[in-house]
């Protein structure tokens, strides 16, 4: 499969955003400005993580649920409610932050699972080759062919929508994608001299995997994971459209958009605000992933 692009190997939903390697161009800038393409999105992500995970701990943010109906539809810039309240009285700023927390938690969990489980599967498959490889790859092919959305729907229908179940459902998308990538990366490594040397020296397989393969494929997997986070957040929102995802009254950007678009004509900010946050977050992760990938290719 060496003739194919590594993104082709990735397949699956996560590949929707897999960005092609940007051709490395020597930067004319000096010093830290050379790293602006990593610093800016990195800082943005840092800010978002801070706002969503840290700020509510000691900042004065009211709870995102349990709002009093008498507080409904308070306009933006009101005292105590910088962005106003929604139609049942919950503070909108709070819902954006906590919603972000939920969305990001799901996204991280799904991609970590994908990276670990998928990465292992793919590396195994490539490492052992022949029969094991074929079997694992065929199973993954089945999963990729299967309209994963249906799988996700089936899971939510039977188990009931919840954060955990959403994570399971979305992991069905991410594991095969990571597996394919890990496999392609590992295949590339197989023929390298240091691998041959290790094998000749009699190093046992698990050791090879751990000490040689893993560190070498990690960068590609992590970069892929960063891009995957953006995809996953968007997918969680899609699941909310179809009745899955995080169940109300708990917020997630996805279900806020879904609830908001049902009253778009009356209260556009209920859609615009979470959409804006969603966009900026996904953009930041994409930019970061893209920048890291460019570096990875240059080396």
């Amino acid at each position: 499969m060496g003739a194919q692009l590594p993104e082709a190997e990735a397949g699956g939903a996560a590949a929707t955003l897999a960005v092609a390697p940007t051709v490395a161009e020597p930067s004319a800038r000096r010093g830290w400005t050379r790293n602006l393409d990593v610093i800016i999105p990195g800082a943005l992500i840092g800010l978002l993580l801070f706002l969503c995970f840290v700020w509510p701990l000691f900042g004065t943010v009211p709870p995102p649920t349990g709002g009093n109906i008498l507080d409904a539809n308070i306009p933006s810039f009101s005292p105590g409610h910088p962005l106003g309240t929604d139609q049942v009285g919950n503070d909108l700023w709070s819902r954006l932050l906590y919603g972000g927390r939920n969305s990001l938690e799901i996204a991280f969990a799904v991609n970590v699972i994908g990276l670990v489980v998928g990465g292992l599967l793919g590396a195994f498959a490539a490492f052992w080759g022949s029969f094991t490889d074929t079997v694992i790859m065929r199973v993954l092919d089945v999963l990729i062919a299967f309209p994963s959305l249906v799988l996700a729907l089936a899971i939510a229908q039977s188990l009931g929508p919840s954060k955990l179940h959403t994570i399971y459902a979305l992991s069905f998308f991410s594991v095969p994608a990571f597996a394919r990538l890990a496999r392609a990366q590992t295949l590339r490594l197989r023929e390298r001299p240091f691998m041959l040397a290790a094998r000749l020296a009699g190093t046992r397989a698990p050791r090879i995997l751990l000490r040689h393969i893993t560190p070498n494929i990690m960068p590609a997997l992590v970069t892929f994971g960063l891009l995957g986070i953006g995809v996953t957040i968007i997918l969680e929102g899609a699941l909310s459209f179809l009745g899955l995802g995080i169940p109300p009254p708990q917020p997630s950007w996805g279900n806020m958009i879904f609830d908001g678009q049902a009253v778009l004509s009356a209260e556009p900010k209920l859609v615009l605000l979470p959409s804006a946050f969603l966009f900026v977050t996904v953009l930041a992760f994409n930019l970061l992933g893209d920048a890291l990938r460019a570096r990875g290719n240059a080396s």
Partner: protein, 335 residues
């Protein structure tokens, strides 16, 4: 490697390595197809909730429930039911909807063409935009088109397609009135169809375009800078556009088409959501309806058909790639 001065264009010369590869691919597709049928059946059947009670409702007597279960062989073991179902499927019988009693095949044949039309339209939009922009960008890396293109595509990738749909409807249908807000098919003309599907296709196609552009651009650039034949062509005085279009592009397009096929599963997922938003009577809509109603035969039928389409598309892409990729054709290591 040196026997090709100029890389030949895509000719369909079948050589035995290619044939072998095709045979290989076909052979592996079969177990995948089987796995897909099994997974489909397993997932749906394992949904909790008694379909019989649900569909017959609260007034159903024990007698009626029993009769219903018999009709669906619900009391047989899982494997027996699976093989029974598989046998039916292979003879083209997908059963009848539990809710409306209509044959599943007719439900699918009603909705599938519309969904495929939507998908095709989205792909056409995305590819029609991708090719010229990617080429322009690759022609002058770092130039204006390249920079603007990359920024736009990065932004476009970061937008959720359902958010885009909501915005598109608001701007183009409600405010400007240029395009319909929901799918209509009153006159059955092509013009009306195209108008109805434009906003939905854009919602799907624009993020796709962003994705494909970056891929195509990168691949073309890689070829322009890396491949021997390009260097040779330039040395011979062949113009850069000619090299781009006649040589780099076709090869890169294959890579792109492979990705299109690989992404089909996700694309179908996107279609399901977009169909809901625009009330398009496609197969995604029918699927959601059926899942909601626990209409097991319909869900199984639609999922199976969709999965088979994806497997076949991937197979075709693989085969096409194998046949047309000169590197494989000329026997270079393929894995």
């Amino acid at each position: 490697m040196t026997d090709q001065a100029v890389r030949p264009g895509p000719a369909l010369a079948l050589r035995s390595p290619a044939l072998r590869l095709i045979g290989n691919r076909l052979a592996t597709a079969v177990p995948v197809l089987w796995g897909v049928t099994f997974l489909t059946f397993a997932v749906i059947q394992l949904l909790p909730g008694d379909a019989a009670q649900q569909l017959l409702g609260i007034n159903a007597t024990q007698e009626q429930l029993r009769e219903f279960r018999d009709k669906l062989n619900l009391d047989d073991s899982f494997l027996v039911r699976y093989f029974h179902w598989l046998g039916d499927v292979l003879t083209g019988n997908l059963g009848n909807s539990l809710a409306s009693d209509q044959p599943v095949t007719s439900i699918i044949s009603d909705g599938l063409p519309t969904t495929l039309e939507l998908l095709l339209y989205a792909l056409v939009i995305s590819l029609a935009l991708t090719v010229p922009i990617a080429l322009l960008a690759a022609r002058n890396p770092g130039g204006f088109v390249d920079r603007v293109g990359m920024v736009t595509s990065m932004a476009g990738l970061s937008v959720a397609n359902y958010v885009l749909a909501v915005v598109l409807v608001y701007v183009f249908a409600v405010k400007l009135g240029w395009l319909p807000a929901i799918y209509t098919n009153n006159t059955g003309t092509l013009g009306e169809l195209v108008k109805s599907l434009t906003l939905p296709a854009l919602s799907i196609g624009f993020p796709l375009f962003c994705f494909y552009t970056r891929l195509l651009r990168a691949d073309v650039l890689e070829q322009m800078q890396g491949e021997d034949y390009v260097v040779t062509a330039k040395a011979k005085g062949v113009g850069p556009w000619r090299v781009l279009v006649r040589h780099a592009l076709p090869n890169s397009l294959f890579g792109l088409l492979t990705i299109v096929a690989l992404n089909l599963g996700t694309l179908i997922g996107a279609t399901v959501i977009i169909e809901q938003i625009f009330a398009v009577p496609g197969i995604g809509h029918s699927l959601l309806e059926a899942i909601n109603n626990r209409d097991v035969p319909v869900v199984e039928g639609i999922v199976l058909v969709l999965a088979v389409i994806v497997v076949v598309a991937n197979l075709l892409a693989d085969v096409l790639y194998a046949v047309l990729d000169p590197r494989i054709r000329y026997g270079r290591s393929a894995s």
